[in-house]
Subunit: 232 residues, 4 copies
């Protein structure tokens, strides 16, 4: 079942490791099957060194295990909430990458300090609001998903396909698992560069919106001219 998607999700998880965004058994990537709406996700606490496509877990949109002998990632409810809220999303990645996590732990949104950021994220990457002790004690992982969705109440999640979960770390998404992983890679790099920028110039502000839009749209807009015509 969903053999190709399992390979894609497994490779996307390994790509997080290869990019240095996860160590040990941290992080997870999932993807949604466009036809059935079912979700394929990494199993919980499994070593990257021995990860195989057939270990990926298949879930219904509500989270019922349809196939797989492993427990799904403990963060699964967060993924499910995001998929339910945003139909455009085809893949989600979660890491504890160093600099994105530092911004999340500082409970600060990530400002758009340069064109590298604007190439992938059309403006500030938001940070979630704190959960109450009741939310933490209750459906904690689903509440984390809700907090992410609420952070995009007045913005398009496809314009800024990333969110910092306060006190925890980043989630990114995209049309596919591969795009979600690419966004995790870019997010970590711009989180690092923004931190260094702020050190060099504490009063640093975001670049003008004309520049943000020019860069985002030359790569992702209807008249994009970055990349080859066949590329995404």
């Amino acid at each position: 079942m969903l053999h190709k998607l399992k390979i894609e999700v497994c490779e996307a998880n390994l790509a997080l490791r290869d990019a240095g965004l996860v160590i040990l058994t941290w992080g997870n990537v999932s993807a949604r099957d466009r036809d059935t709406g079912n979700i394929v996700i990494k199993p919980s606490g499994v070593s990257y060194d021995r990860m195989l496509p057939e270990q990926m877990v298949v879930l219904s949109p509500d989270g019922a295990v349809i196939e797989g002998s492993f427990r799904p990632s403990s963060d699964t409810p967060t993924h499910l909430v995001i998929y339910k809220a945003w139909p455009e999303v085809g893949g989600i990645a979660h890491t504890h990458s160093t600099h994105a996590t530092a911004w999340a732990q500082a409970w600060r949104a990530l400002p758009c300090c340069g064109t590298t950021h604007a190439d992938n994220f059309r403006g500030t990457v938001p940070v979630t609001k704190p959960l109450s002790d009741e939310q933490i004690a209750g459906h904690y992982e689903a509440e984390t998903g809700n907090a992410i969705v609420q952070a995009f109440a007045d913005r398009s999640p496809m314009d800024v396909p990333a969110c910092l979960v306060g006190g925890h770390g980043p989630f990114t998404w995209g049309r596919s698992a591969g795009h979600a992983v690419e966004n995790s890679i870019v997010l970590e790099q711009v989180a690092l560069t923004a931190m260094l920028t702020e050190r060099l110039r504490p009063e640093a502000s975001e670049i003008p919106s004309a520049l943000v839009d020019r860069h985002f749209l030359r790569k992702h807009g209807p008249d994009a001219y970055y990349g080859q015509r066949t590329a995404g």
Copy 2:
């Protein structure tokens, strides 16, 4: 004698090197044999590139060399004090990893700034009190062990399996040598992230205890749901 444990200890020492936590001949890992109480530990000043299981030194709980033609690690008395004080401990690791050492050199306890920390350490990682000149001139390495044990006077060493030795560097432990090494890896990562978090938000405080407990217990508590049922 203790052939399997020697392999385990040798591999744990090499894992420190592979994780980038030690260079040259720095660092050491030991393990305790559950049956006899004997300790297996890395020899002193031996190159990681030529390290072999049969070079590991076997000691009685009091530190007498039972087997091995090499001198044990110069930090051996520190390990022995910890094993004697805490029966649950099956393995100990010591590194000079960059960021954990920086906190130790700053004589600061490591605050719990996020869930990555809480996943492995249930709250602040303590720093030891300074030794007197007499303690330094006397049984220095054993006094270092005493300072670690005293830092846990009112806490469980298995809830927070790590300590920063002020002016020196980190020690970690666990049920086995492998767990001790994993805790060294996590400690270095959260020491780095906490430093970056503080830079982004100087007044950063620890995450609420409800969140610390949720993360620590979902992985290590009696109802843990992180990882697979067969995993530790």
Copy 3:
């Protein structure tokens, strides 16, 4: 056409990746053919892992595609402006390398804090002036080139073969694509070291011009004695 130069440009692009200065499809290197004035440049958005010399695009000095089935780099107009303004330039490199980009995002010129800097750049590396919204909306990439050229109104671009484009990142150049890449490597290293120097001594100033000149000229002057007689 220009087979050898295509190989040179392809290898120079891969050298950026191997030096850790670019990830994903970021960055680009071009070179100018001394005989025809034609430009060879990296195609836009192509993976470094599958990059081949025959994918390089050949352009006339005005930017018309003479050969190649791929779109040239989206930054091509920036390169063309630089080649037109400075006849000595034989190669240009553009990266988003972490620390050079941080200085660019902070809109700060890079001070010459030590001899490592002076070995390759004879003094401060300038930062461009901001573009107006009209310039951003218009011929954005060509205007970026104009801003670089204007930053050298009263200096020789061969004495300081690098410029920080504010809010964006660094461009470097040299007599060949290989020299441009080497300058990108040095720029990233001195951008990092200057940042650390400033942290250790906030009031740090540039080294005396006598020391700048001694180091620059012992390597690049008419009586250079660094390197072997046959080397450049």
Copy 4:
């Protein structure tokens, strides 16, 4: 001539590269032959990727080329001054390693913030005084050596086998080329950790001299108990 020493010096130079302390053609290592007093040193500006023992240059103690078809390192006069001043020195290494260079560029001596430092350097690593414009214009490289020797006017160069040349970078030495390289590796690591320590605790002071001595002497003193009896 001096075949074994050439191999040793070549390998020591490559070890700098492998430890990440030099890039491009930066850095250099030399050694002194105990019998003749002749010096073997890296050629100037030669690529590490193609470095061979037979390229090493043999010099008389006064710097006359005795053997070799390559120019010696442009920093050769600095090495010669150090060898002449300090008979115990058998090898010298020079790098532009990131964090040691940052302290040098900040013209700050490196404080002994922890036992990792004390294990190899018995106290503060000094920084040289600035050269005058006349010294820079004259025998610049020899004057650099003089400045290093003067920084040890009242200390033993074997207790602290390292010096920061202000505005430039570090030199280290030891009984052999290999020990000089090991000291460069340790210096870079403690330069990094000291910088992080200062960030965590701006008022950080050096560790007590009792602790410095305990660590330095347990490894290098007459009653050293670190390492194996046969080791150095």
